[in-house]
């Protein structure tokens, strides 16, 4: 069996993005990069599947040279192979492009299971996994909280609105991970040191022979400023509550 884990490198959640905006780009200097948190659950799941079934786990990441750091993290987690699709033109919001590039490489890798996080915390689109599944002509099951593989069949318990559902299908399949899927075992120092020496296979995006229309980002802007707030005065908590409810009703008109 072969499992591909799609990992995305994103700015650390502490990053103050407003300070990094320049025109239609985010200025990357000084940003601390991490593997998107939900992708860590995908990595962990791949390794757990490998424990039960004989499998090779390949971590794949698309982007400029810096994403090799994310692939090193995947090696430290314990994957067997790291694959970097090198693309200096990569843009996190261009998901039609991203899905097509990843699918082109996945076609060659031909994995039985494709795992990734259910959302990337930068672009927050959550679309690429289903798009890849459509291109490859295979099913996709999003928001997995449990994955069971038996022979060529897979049973996934997934989150739906207000509940959970069981879905069954044949391999190959695209599955996206939620936090509830597992608890990642973080790399040991030994694992991190060993990861530094591992070979990363590089595929130049230009060699894939794709011609995909790109989107145009006109501008990136900080969130609109919030009007200054007001602290509610009152003698007692009850008086404050009463005044707050009045304001929500009469001024803000939201209740």
């Amino acid at each position: 069996m072969k499992i591909a884990v799609l990992i995305k490198q994103v700015p650390d959640t502490e990053t103050q993005i407003s300070a990094k905006i320049s025109g239609n780009k985010i200025n990357e200097s000084g940003i601390k990069w991490i593997v998107s948190p939900f992708d860590e659950h995908a990595l962990e799941e791949a390794l757990r599947i490998r424990e039960k079934h004989k499998a090779e786990v390949v971590a794949i990441s698309l982007g400029p040279d810096r994403v090799q750091e994310a692939i090193r993290t995947a090696y430290a987690f314990g994957v067997d192979k790291g694959l970097h699709i090198r693309d200096t033109s990569y843009n996190t919001l261009d998901i039609f492009y991203t899905a097509n590039v990843l699918a082109a490489v996945l076609k060659k890798e031909n994995p039985d299971v494709i795992l990734t996080g259910h959302i990337a915390i930068d672009s927050q689109s959550s679309m690429v996994p289903a798009m890849i599944a459509q291109i490859l002509g295979i099913p996709n099951i999003n928001n997995a909280i449990k994955v069971e593989i038996q022979n060529s069949k897979v049973k996934v318990t997934r989150e739906i609105e207000g509940g959970i559902a069981d879905v069954e299908t044949e391999l190959p399949v695209v599955i996206t991970a939620t936090k509830k899927l597992n608890e990642p075992k973080y790399p040991t120092l030994k694992g991190i040191l060993a990861a530094k020496k591992k070979n990363i296979e590089v595929i130049e995006v230009d060699t894939l022979g794709l011609n995909i229309p790109r989107i145009q980002i006109i501008s990136i802007e900080p969130p609109p400023p919030r009007p200054p707030g007001r602290i509610i005065d009152g003698e007692t908590p009850e008086a404050k509550a009463k005044e707050l409810v009045r304001l929500l009703r009469e001024e803000a008109k939201v209740i």
């Binding site: 993005i17 039609f96 927050q124 099913p139 009463k242 929500l248």
Partner: protein
């Protein structure tokens, strides 16, 4: 040429986002066709009122990403659709991307603003959980998923009301649904809620959720939580609001005992009205709050609940 929107249902009712999409579609100045899968005549009327010219009603289809994508693609092709608007919901995330690939159309997800016309549209979407916004220009055809609660509703559209009932073969579906368990039937989903009552470390322990739940119940609100409360094991992660949880855009967000870490502010910062209740006057949450109450949440929240009960005439 037309704008296509997808209607989603919840517990037998049309979701508000379904109407928001047809209203948003109207602004693009073209024919708006809503696809209604497994809906009723009543649902079609609601869609007409909110701005649809046509409703294509398709019955008896069990949900699956593949089936829905195939149905939507078939209708979009028949109507020469240029813009396809889909809810940015749990389901929308399953099938929207598949529709885009089948139509060879570009796709932009989690959009909060849409303008332009049928040839070229401009959209705005939050990125990094609302720490920034991107403006994107796209030629059509395009698939756009729209965040709930961001589009103004048209109340009483007086256009043509053309209802088509269709049978469409959903093709060979590979992933089969075998069982559904409604854990929180009837509960309002965080990402689609218009009011959220949220708790953080200040609620002190899981035994105190009923204090917040009581307020949420009188307001018809969803219950949210900060990462601190989730990591402490006080509530399931599906309630987490923030950059590693859910990004929300309600009309009213009531933050109780939440200090306001950058990741949390990112996830709820686009709420229209923010109320912060916290004992610590220096808490970060007050920087984004429309109304702040510096006091003990265990006194303020129950008093609010009582006050709202009086207001709504609930005994």
């Amino acid at each position: 040429m037309s704008v296509i929107t997808i209607a989603e249902l919840k517990n037998g009712s049309l979701k508000k986002i379904s109407k928001e999409l047809v209203s948003a579609g109207r602004k693009l100045q073209d024919q708006v066709t809503a696809i209604l899968i497994n809906g009723t005549e009543q649902h079609s009327q609601e869609l007409f009122q909110a701005g649809a010219d046509n409703v294509v009603k398709i019955d008896g289809k069990e949900y699956s990403a593949e089936a829905w994508a195939n149905i939507i693609t078939a209708v979009a092709k028949e109507k020469s659709a240029k813009v396809i608007l889909i809810p940015h919901s749990i389901l929308g995330k399953d099938y929207a991307g598949r529709v885009a690939i089948q139509l060879g159309a570009n796709i932009i997800a989690d959009v909060v603003e849409i303008k332009g016309n049928i040839e070229s549209i401009q959209v705005k979407k939050p990125i990094y959980s609302g720490k920034a916004f991107a403006n994107i220009q796209v030629p059509t055809p395009i698939v756009v998923t729209i965040r709930p609660n961001t589009q103004e509703l048209i109340e009483n559209y007086q256009g043509p009301k053309n209802l088509e009932v269709k049978v469409i073969d959903e093709g060979n579906v590979k992933a089969k649904l075998t069982n559904i368990q409604q854990v929180e039937a009837g509960k309002i989903q965080l990402t689609e809620a218009s009011i959220i009552v949220s708790g953080g470390r200040g609620i002190k322990g899981p035994e105190n959720w009923p204090v917040l739940q009581a307020l949420a119940d009188v307001l018809g609100a969803a219950l949210g939580a900060s990462r601190a409360a989730v990591d402490a094991g006080w509530i399931d992660h599906s309630h987490q609001v923030g950059q590693t949880g859910k990004t929300v855009s309600p009309n009213l967000y009531i933050a109780c005992g939440i200090s306001g870490a950058i990741q949390h502010l990112a996830g709820m910062g686009s709420s229209k009205i923010i109320v912060a209740i916290n004992k610590d006057p220096d808490a970060n949450i007050f920087k984004v709050a429309t109304y702040g109450v510096v006091d003990d949440l265990f006194k303020v929240v129950p008093a609010m609940t009582e006050e709202i009960k009086k207001l709504y005439g609930i005994s």
